[in-house]
């Protein structure tokens, strides 16, 4: 009889699964973990200092200038928003398609989404000239007339898209964790631990009633989250597509951005999963080579989609006959910032081609390195879109250059500090693999594993 490669390795019993996953939350962290956390917090400190200086002194500290009104802050914002997409895709869309392999990575992917959106959300606030007034972008009743926001501005759509996305992601993530919180609660020996996780588990008792409601809510939320995968990045792309700037003003942006987001999301997913596996060896049985292989295939596919988009931009520039478009695309490839364009093409289109080979898809080092390149490439993709379009537009007299400053790098790398700090803390305090979802897909109880097969 043919049968699939098991989704969970190591012939786990249900108790093993509970023990393995809860151990991360229950045991004192290893020195290796502490070292990782210290590193993340160091980066986070840089982020705090850099952003503090910018808020205190002025945006002029960054490389952003005239005519490049948006630069690394927006690039990094779009980058992090894009990262988030893989999580929702894995947890919601694959859930609806009943892809069982998703179960063991869904939680972490979703955590990645939440933290990425949190990190991303800071950037639009911190990139404005007067961040202390950024709340004016929210349409709230006020005594200024009342003065409303400009609903025609894509930035307002952005506010709604990102905040909706953040809300739904957090709720979906939280609801999924409720049965697992109950497991942690039930295993807890410390009274405070019991109380905190008890509170978080919302009085979960594991009755059929509970499960019935839970599954219903989870499916509804999955249904709710699914369009967001498409909508959020489409709307983020409107920030660019709605403007009149050559290089921004294009209709391909929504699908192009979504494909890119999924691409970058899976890239980041691979990065984190390989790190997770390296830091916590027991997790290898849950996040198996099969998972990584599947994700690498998605990277390959979406990588080619973005490659197609890059190509179509050339075509449209030629086909449109608009001299500004034509100049813009040539300037991207051959102008003074061409390094960013070719970094993008190399990292996003060329390097993932290595995943045509099964061996490469299943090599941890290869996939780790490729995933890093994908991250770099996708950051540069947004850089290419944002900066190279702005720096040379309609009137040649306005043309300018973009120069990075220390603060650009500080904000970018510092944001990884924020993200990683949140992620590492998550690994310690929340069940990082869905116990409730993994157990049903393990082979316990039927088939009896390989040796049970005569």
């Amino acid at each position: 009889m043919m049968h699939r490669t098991p989704l969970i390795l190591g012939k786990k019993t249900y108790k093993d699964i509970s023990d393995d996953i809860c151990a991360l939350v229950e045991r004192f962290p290893s020195p290796r973990f502490m070292l990782g956390l210290a590193g993340a917090q160091f980066l986070f400190l840089i982020f705090v200092l850099v952003q503090g200086a910018i808020v205190f002194k002025g945006l002029g500290l960054m490389g952003v200038s005239h005519p490049v009104g948006w630069a690394t802050d927006i690039v990094t914002f779009v980058f992090w928003i894009g990262i988030g997409h893989a999580g929702t895709l894995i947890s919601a869309i694959l859930f609806l398609f009943r892809q069982k392999w998703r179960t063991s990575i869904a939680r972490t992917a979703e955590a990645m989404t939440v933290f990425a959106v949190m990190t991303a959300g800071l950037f639009p606030i911190l990139h404005v000239g007067r961040p202390w007034l950024a709340y004016w972008l929210l349409p709230y009743p006020n005594q200024r007339g009342p003065l409303w926001v400009n609903f025609r501005s894509p930035l307002i759509w952005d506010v709604f898209a990102v905040s909706t996305y953040a809300t739904v992601s957090i709720v979906f993530w939280y609801v999924g964790m409720v049965p697992d919180f109950a497991t942690v609660r039930d295993r807890a020996k410390n009274i405070w631990r019991k109380r905190i996780y008890g509170l978080l588990s919302l009085g979960w008792r594991g009755t059929a009633h509970d499960w019935n409601h839970y599954e219903m809510v989870y499916m509804l939320l999955a249904g709710l989250a699914t369009p967001l995968v498409l909508s959020v990045h489409s709307i983020v792309s409107f920030d660019f597509a709605v403007s009149s700037l050559p290089g921004w003003h294009t209709t391909i942006f929504p699908p192009y951005f979504v494909a890119g987001a999924i691409f970058s999301g899976f890239g980041m997913c691979i990065t984190l999963m390989t790190i997770f596996r390296a830091l916590v060896p027991t997790i290898k049985d849950y996040i198996t080579m099969e998972h990584l292989d599947v994700m690498n295939r998605i990277i390959l596919a979406t990588g080619m989609m973005v490659g197609y988009s890059y190509g179509s931009e050339f075509f449209v520039a030629w086909y449109s006959g608009v001299e500004y478009e034509q100049y813009m695309i040539l300037n991207r490839a051959l102008g003074p910032l061409n390094y960013s364009y070719w970094t993008m093409v190399t990292c996003n289109v060329l390097i993932p081609q290595i995943f045509w080979f099964r061996k490469m898809r299943r090599n941890l080092w290869v996939m780790f390195i490729v995933s890093i390149f994908v991250n770099i490439g996708m950051w540069f993709e947004r850089f290419v879109i944002t900066v190279t379009s702005l720096h040379r537009d309609f009137l040649p007299s306005n043309w300018g250059m973009f120069h990075f400053t220390m603060f650009d790098f500080g904000a970018l790398f510092g944001s990884f500090g924020l993200f990683l700090t949140l992620f590492l803390l998550y690994l310690r305090v929340l069940p990082s693999v869905s116990i409730a979802e993994v157990k049903p897909v393990s082979k316990v109880g039927y088939e009896g594993g390989e040796h049970g097969h005569h």
């Binding site: 490389g63 200038s65 930035l155 040649p396 007299s397 250059m401």
Partner: protein
Amino acid sequence: MENINDLKPQPKYWMSLEQWTQDPEFLKMAENEFLSSPLSSEDGKDGWARREFLKLMGASLALTTFGCVRRPAEKIIPYAKRPVEVVPGIPDYYASSYFDGAEGLGIVVQTREGRPIKIEGNTEHPANEGGMSARAHAHILKLYDPDRATGPLKNLQNEKKTNNQTVNITWDKLDQEVVEQLKKGKVAFLTATIASPATKELIQSFASQVGGKTYEMDEIPYEAVREGQKLSYGDDVVPQYRIDKAKYILAVNNDFIGTWLTPVAFQKMFSKTRNPDENMSKLTVVESLLSLTGSNADERFRIKPSQTLDFLMGLAYQLNNVMKVGGATANADILSALKEYAQVDARLGLKEGTIARIAEEIAHHRGESLVLSGGMTTGGKDAVAIQVVTNLINSILGNEGTTVLAGAPLNTARGSYKQVSDLMKAIKDKSVETLIIYGVNPTYALPEASGFQEALRNVPVVIYAGDRKDETGFQADYIPTVHHELENWGDLETSQGVFSLQQPTIQPLYDTRSFQDSLLAWAKGLGKKSARLGSENWHEYLKSYWKSEIYPKVSKAGTFDNFWVDSLKSGVVNLAKKDSSHRSFKAASFSTFKKRDAVPEMELVLYPTVGLRSGELANVSWMQEFPDPVTKLVWDNYFTFSIGDAKKLKLSQGRMVSVKVNGQTIEGPAHIQPGQAEGVVGLAVGYGRTRGGKVCDGVGINAFNLAQPDGDQLLTAGFKAEVTPLSKRYDLATTQGHNTMEGRQIVVEETLAQFMKKPGGQIHHPKMMTMWSEHKYPGRKWAMTIDLNKCTGCSACLTACQSENNIPTVGKKYVLQGREMHWLRIDRYYTGEPEDAGVVNQPIVCMHCDNAPCETVCPVAATTHSDEGTNDMIYNRCVGTRYCSNNCPYKVRRFNWFSYTDVKQPLNLAMNPEVTVRNRGVMEKCTFCIHRIKFEESQAKMHDRELKDGDVKTACQESCPTNAIIFGNINDPNSEVAKRFKQPMMYDLLEELNTKPSVRYHTKVRNAAQIKSHGKEEHNT
């Protein structure tokens, strides 16, 4: 010790053992009222005892208050509006005068609550007719320069006059010491050209009273013009060049539009000849560097500065010997002198027959053409010869008496290096005991090679009437710190018979005193009371001068008091008579000339810039951040190289070069200038100040120091230069990112022939359609037209806008990042082959688009559309997303990257209270001077009338010397702007974007056979 109980007598109450024991020392002390002396201590160690201190304090307090009586009331009369007193919120306008060293302008000073905030042109002044120069605008910021000295200074010089410690001194003390010194006699004056007739008389009579001599010098020398006139016609004058009467203008290494003599007046006249019709003038420029004049040329040729004389001789040869135009043909001397210039085209690198063709064209316009030549770039040994040949050509062409008029010459450029060298000789002969310097900064503006700085050290006492301890001030013994011109009375005679007054518009900010008052005080101290020297003060003197010298010449003036008030009001008294001079050329002078300048392979020339000129405004940040109209570089001077030379020397922009010239080696950055002649290196003067103030010190290289004395002449050009490229690089900050139009329709140029056939025929109009209904403008709709054909690119509007709208400067570091804040910028594009580039200029303001891309994208509705068509910026709503700037195709928006409003005191006084200063983190841009619109609207409403066309003038429009900018209500069909807006030669910038701008451009019309290429491809209709 004795038993203390044995001692006697014992007081009942005692406070120390000493008292109880009746210690003799204690008893002695107790006799005093206080235990320690309230007066100075006995031993004299404590020099400032309390009581003495209080006594002095009280006395000085009393004395200070005593000294603080109000200045005697000196009535000044507002220009157009006559408030009883200063009305808060209402600006007052005072007619006044400005003299920049060579050009005199009639100005109107706008004051708010007693402080001047802006200088505008006086439309009634015949010289500039309301036109302004960028420097004249920037003059106001010098008033508020924080580096000005706040009171009289005395330098305690050592023997060598190098180690100087500066102390404050009171005016009384200074006067006393100066008078003592003046009693020794042998007084010399070194001044700039004094264009104020009353001041001139005052200095003269003071000098004659104390037995002194006066010397005049100009930092930017024009002495060759006078010298040439003297030799050619026997008149020591600078004639009036009536460009407005010329149909053909030939400028040979002469930047009359940018920097030569009186550029504002010249531009005014030039623009009058530039209407694109059959009377349109043609401007042919032959030059070495690319000047502002060259960038306006219809046709332009490149020669080296040292070849200027050859070119002019060649032209004279063609006109005189070949074509036999005019009356000079018969003179044998001239005929033979010109003979050797028969075939100079090839030698000058011009196409064969070029000079003959120019001669042909110019001869066509006999009596209505004008040849101008000379300037710093031809300040070589041939400088005077060049003027003489130019005069010859003008005489041959019959221009003398029509476009060159000497009957009422310009009252400028009297200074010469000869006078400086005379002064140095006098110092050497020990016949100068006291040197009084006023209006010039010779230590800076004269090269060390002249020996002036050394000579100054040998003058026993130097008095420098400047406004700070600058380069010359450092070498002086006394600095009787002078008022800024806006704090002082004065007058001005721009050309013979055209008088204007200068009135103070603010109480002096500091403890300064006008130079004229100083002279009067010293005259008083010396007991000289003859003539007007006995006047109470300078104001009295001035009034008396006008009463006796000018008033009698005016017919129908009424009483003097009325005349005085009227003159103050209008700012100008025009007594110029119709100039019908006609002089004949003195042929005898001609044959003596031989070309003296060699033609080195690489020659260095010095040139003045439009922004800094001789550097007197170098400490005004507006002028340092003033994009040079040609290079668009700021905050530096640089060696300019032609493209050919740059290739040869393997130079790139900003590469450091070492230039060896006249035995000096200077390092500086290279700027590669399209359109510059090969074999020439240019370097601008006005930079490299060392003691001018915090803004200008150390910016650039002092090019004046490269000038070379040659007998009685100071050479400024024709130096053999050896250039060595260095490996270092230097960042040159520019405000313009790219210099060609890449074939895009940005500036549309047409030839005059094309224009006459079909105006605007070269404009490509895309087919536009829209799904949306358009904005309704039921009342007024504001719009602007900019005439690119009239615009010379002089950039006066840019500084006018800066002054009007409180626009900050950001410094070189941030200009490098493109963060300059100018609301109005002038884009300069090169056309044609880079080696022989043409230039077009395009002022860019906010277009106030009907379909404004910025408005839709602002998330907080901080930039909105008004029902009068303006695109308004609401600063306090702006959160600074900068989306508007990204979406603006014209990129006219500027962002406050840092807090730019915390300016140093008293620079804040220059702020226009009508215009909000912008916070950090907000976007700003041109507002169409909305505050002026609103002010005029409320004025109209108050007087219950409609707004008339021309009531509202934007700051840029007001300052434009060529009237290229027209602003008004386009819904009024009779308004100037409405009439122009729909004309076929008007076009929208980036029309294909359907932004529907409220600013339209008039095509640039060239009176030439063809237009130079605009980039890769051309639009054809």
